[in-house]
Point group: C2
Chain length 660, copies 2
């Protein structure tokens, strides 16, 4: 029963599924909150955003402004990672109502004797909520207004903007109306929103052909990786690998002697999800890698693949965590008619589900305790959704710095659900979006709809599982194009290397996306000094990313028209327009493409009447552009894209004093 | 803690503000419900809409079908007025999953021995939930599948569609996932969705000039009103009128002797909101009017104006229900500098608010007990919103047949809030929407957005307060146009008569919308037999409405293009397309307008290759139209609009047998 409260609040935004899920922001970012605040009749209103950093119980307040049509807006800054709550409340601004009406009364020369008394009462009420100098100021004013011995001077003063501001500092919120349910906000550290990932198989880091690489070998690779400008180094599972039904090279059903098996077939007599594969080294080596990486500005991301080889200790210790077939054997993974007998999925419907959840949480905590704060989750869409919602919330309550990347290549609603329930970043369909129309439509969905409130895209041109057709057929130019797109369309992106920088593009079979002789099943030695390597190009792109804050965000993406269907153009700018980047990318790996771009100058804060310099940070060309319509020409293999920084103040004769 | 349940349900639609408010339907209508049903992995799913007629506790179930992309749809029919709840649940269709995989296994000639046992177990589980013949059928099948002594015949049978359907009748819903919160649906009787209102001042129904009309006089007017085809007769307040500060003719501040005052200045020594004005007659006269009206197919709607004259009994009995000024007087209504000293608003912030709410509810119940089931609420937006939400819910719980029309001409969000919180119908901005662009934009908002789920528009071309400029300047043709628009754009509409049918168009002042010599302040005698009267035209329009079910709904409105900005075209059709009405209306009251319409034939289910007959039910013209592009010519004053019924099967030579 609301009783005598007459103010109602509705349509608070942002909000995901009626507050079922938190929206996401980065530490230091501002959250803009809007709401409708309504009251019957014609009273003036005030509104505020209330927010708190959980578990803090006291609400902080940020004022809201009326936008017209009963819509209000306010904002607050979330400084620390963690969980926040926010809501909106509104109340009747009785002094504001009085003042607005009083101004009209005075203008029409009404007798305002009684109304002055009403005003005096309101000011006295405010005084009773104020203290110190403000309180006495307000009491004086109320007295003047009540006495009216000053020939109307009291009334005049009471109507000033200054007095209104003072009275409104001590509002009567007794009958405030508040939005039914506090909404949630999860604030992550900056790397959740801006990161460049590099994926590598440590066992292929050996300097000698045929020898199993180790974590120490991987350590030796750090300078190379850091020199390309990456900041997250993601390792496929580093755990012992099963023997039973081990897959051979090129995913052969039977492994030959010496075949190393897939790192995702986790668990053997040497241990499971909290052990290091003996051939990679020891837990000490792992800790050392973490700390060495840090010296190079690299953070290690581990793979979280919650599945077991038949040799995993869980299989003996907890057979109840697996599904059993009517013949008593444990159900292996399959997608009929394909069988994956080297993998036992965990059964999230097990009667012992609660023990299973606890154990999986223990695995995550184990690695956090060993210095890992980023987890790339393998196929989260094949594990129970409520489990993820629970475990991510549990972990982030203790460790708000931990980030989870969802490797879910599945149906859109399921990908969105995973993002909503708590994953910090998500793999996307970018991997298969190649044309201008595909890219534009998809990225508008990601950055212009409510999706941007809960899903942070992490763009991968390739992965160990996916060598997309565009890279297979487009040669080195295709790799350059896809890198530029990934690194500039997305604030978060990653590549699987060295396959990527060496432009590895041979599929196992025609029409497939698997690499031939994939590292997933064998040791590999890469020629990092190949003249073909894109490592310098990648380093340049990553440097441009770091130096330009416009590229550190996703929601600021804007597309611009080009008259050539094979060329895409988009921009990103900081809110204050101090950094503006325009990307023009050829999407045709075979031909030079030229044409005209039509910039939305308004979105870029550019003046149609002035020339500006478009400085291509990639090719270092500098172009004098004027107005919205400008020419481009992009050559695959040498200049597949422009990443242009707008430099506004090109001088003209009008800048000289004598011109004025 | 969801535990081992893996299915989640989200985005259930329709839904208003996260289920804070009910959506609306009419008795007998079908509610189509959609939702996303998601599960990790690749299991097959089933889903159902659950619904119940409050206070019934048991849920009824309607099956859902997958639409693709994880979206599901189901529907149920709400037969009775009252409140319903609905929600969606989904569960894993284990047999469906087994069957789909089994078909692929068989196709690739795998050994399916163990899988047959799995299937047999699933069928036995279903048998344990079944009874009678189904149970034994299922048990037989499970046995055949388990034994496999029939050379695979059991396996073959288990894969048939028929068996799948049988097993799915006995699903295992133990781990079903359900939408968090049941949503609400309010079902109203048919008149809530289709009604033609006529507003009249009973005191002007006298047959002798100068004599105060009575309810008996109003009774004598019923045949006239019924002959025009209306079904709701709405009376301004029939209560005693205050004397203090009574307004004179044309809203003069001081009343002259004999001035009758405004019916909205309610209350005198003769009583308040539950009394009849002595000059109108007695309570018995009122009851008699209700029953006589019913004989003519007319239902009486009363005005609910919760405000008081200074002479209202409440003022003496309950001074605490009013706001007091610092000088001890009661605060009258005002919109500075305007003062309405004849009106005291009720104070919904009174400490005695609960007693006030109870009393106002008592007033409503009083009139319901006297046979009134439709209430037109005067200015609900100037009374506390939580009060309306409470009182409408309270009333409808006991009396689901009662309808409330919100007369709120205010800001859009407030109008929508009133509709959401429970009003059955709402006045709209139609009154001021005249151009094609204005009408199209507004009616698309009302009928194509979520607004259609909670707001039922009631369109009024005029009211005693509003003589719109278009009617002031457009003459008789303007009245015809606005009538056709109101009656066909809206399933609910109304006019204030006889001012409307007599084309009364003189404003009190230039630039204002008040009628001169308004009935609000004086007795009036109307010449109903005037040759100018639109009564026959109105009767024809109302007959067309009754006879064509396409015009009984709002959400089926579709606009079609015309090449003439002064002409609007739209259609309404029943779901089965058995009744299709196309309206083409001239919006220019001064000139004949002609041009071409481009019909969206797909929306109308029409064949572009066949001629159809467009039968103008208004002018009785019959036009042979072909394809989407057709000519029209509309003459203000004689044929301002077409209201065309599509008659599809115009014969051609192709209909003769010999043509084949």
């Amino acid at each position: 029963m609301e009783g005598p409260s007459r103010v109602v609040v509705e349509r608070v935004r942002p909000e995901i599924d009626c507050g079922a899920f938190a929206i996401k922001r980065l530490a230091g970012e501002t959250l803009v909150v809007e709401a409708d605040i309504l009251v019957d009749g014609h009273d003036a209103l005030s509104g505020e955003v209330l927010y708190r950093h959980v578990p803090e119980e006291n609400w902080l307040s940020a004022p809201m402004k009326a936008l017209g049509n009963d819509r209000w807006r306010g904002e607050f800054r979330a400084t620390e990672p963690g969980q926040y709550e926010y809501t909106v409340q509104g109340w009747i601004d009785r002094f504001g109502t009085w003042r607005r009406e009083m101004i009209r009364r005075v203008a029409s020369e009404q007798d305002v004797h009684v109304e002055c008394l009403s005003g005096a009462n309101l000011i006295e009420d405010a005084a009773s909520r104020a203290a110190g100098e403000d309180a006495s100021k307000l009491r004086d004013l109320a007295r003047m207004l009540r006495d009216q011995t000053d020939g109307g001077r009291g009334a005049g003063m009471a109507l000033t903007e200054e007095v209104a501001t003072l009275v409104q500092q001590y509002p009567d919120r007794r009958f405030a109306g508040r939005h039914a349910k506090p909404l949630r906000l999860v604030v992550d550290r900056e790397r959740a929103g801006f990161s460049a990932w590099y994926e590598i198989f440590p066992r292929s880091c050996s300097s000698e052909s045929g020898r199993h690489g180790t974590l120490r070998d991987c350590e030796a690779r750090l300078p190379y990786i850091a020199s390309m400008g990456f900041d997250v180094l993601y390792l496929p599972p580093v755990h012992p690998i099963g023997h039973t039904f081990r897959k051979g090279r090129n995913n052969e059903t039977a492994a030959a002697a010496g075949d190393v098996g897939s790192p995702w077939a986790i668990g053997s007599e040497d241990g499971g999800h909290t052990s290091i594969h003996p051939d990679l080294g020891t837990m000490d080596d792992f800790k050392r890698l973490i700390s060495k990486a840090k010296e190079y500005g690299l953070e290690i991301a581990l793979d979280l693949a919650f599945q077991c080889s038949p040799d995993h200790p869980y299989v003996r210790q907890h057979p109840e965590w697996f599904r059993h077939r009517p013949d008593g054997t444990i159900q292996y993974a399959e997608n009929p008619p394909k069988k994956y007998q080297d993998i036992f999925p965990l059964d999230f419907e097990s009667p012992e589900w609660w023990e299973l959840w606890q154990e999986l949480k223990r695995v995550i905590v184990f690695w956090i305790d060993h210095g890992v704060a980023i987890l790339r989750v393998d196929n989260p869409h094949t594990k129970a959704l409520p489990f993820w919602e629970w475990v991510i919330a549990e972990i982030k309550q203790e460790h708000p710095e931990v980030l989870f990347l969802a490797e879910a290549f599945t149906r859109p609603r399921l990908m969105y659900r995973l993002a909503k329930l708590g994953f910090s970043q998500s793999y996307t369909y970018f991997t298969w979006r190649n044309t201008k129309e595909e890219l534009t439509r998809y990225f508008r969905e990601l950055t212009e709809t409510e999706v941007r409130e809960f899903l942070r895209p992490n763009l991968w041109p390739n992965t160990p599982d996916i060598l997309p057709e565009f890279l297979q057929v487009g040669g080195r130019a295709a790799f350059m194009m896809r890198l530029v797109l990934a690194a500039t369309l997305g604030a978060n992106y990653g590549i699987y290397g060295p396959a990527f920088e060496l432009c590895e593009n041979a599929p196992r079979e025609q029409g497939g996306e698997e690499y031939i002789n994939s590292e997933k099943y064998e040791l590999k030695r890469w020629d990092l000094s190949s003249a073909w390597s894109l490592k310098d190009f990648i380093a340049r792109v990553n440097r441009i990313r770091r130096e330009n804050p416009a590229l550190h965000r996703d929601a600021n993406l804007r597309f611009h028209e080009t008259d050539n269907p094979a060329v895409i153009c988009y921009s990103k700018a900081t809110d204050d327009l101090s950094d503006i980047i325009i990307v023009i990318c050829n999407l045709d790996a075979a031909h030079t493409q030229a044409g005209w771009v039509t910039l939305d100058l308004g979105a870029l804060g550019l003046d149609a009447t002035r020339t500006f310099q478009a400085h291509d940070l990639l090719g270092d060309g500098r172009y004098l552009w004027h107005g919205s319509h400008n020419y481009f020409e992009l050559v695959p293999g040498s200049l597949p894209a422009h990443v242009m920084k707008v430099r506004k103040w090109v001088r003209t004769e009008r800048d000289f004093d004598y011109y004025l």
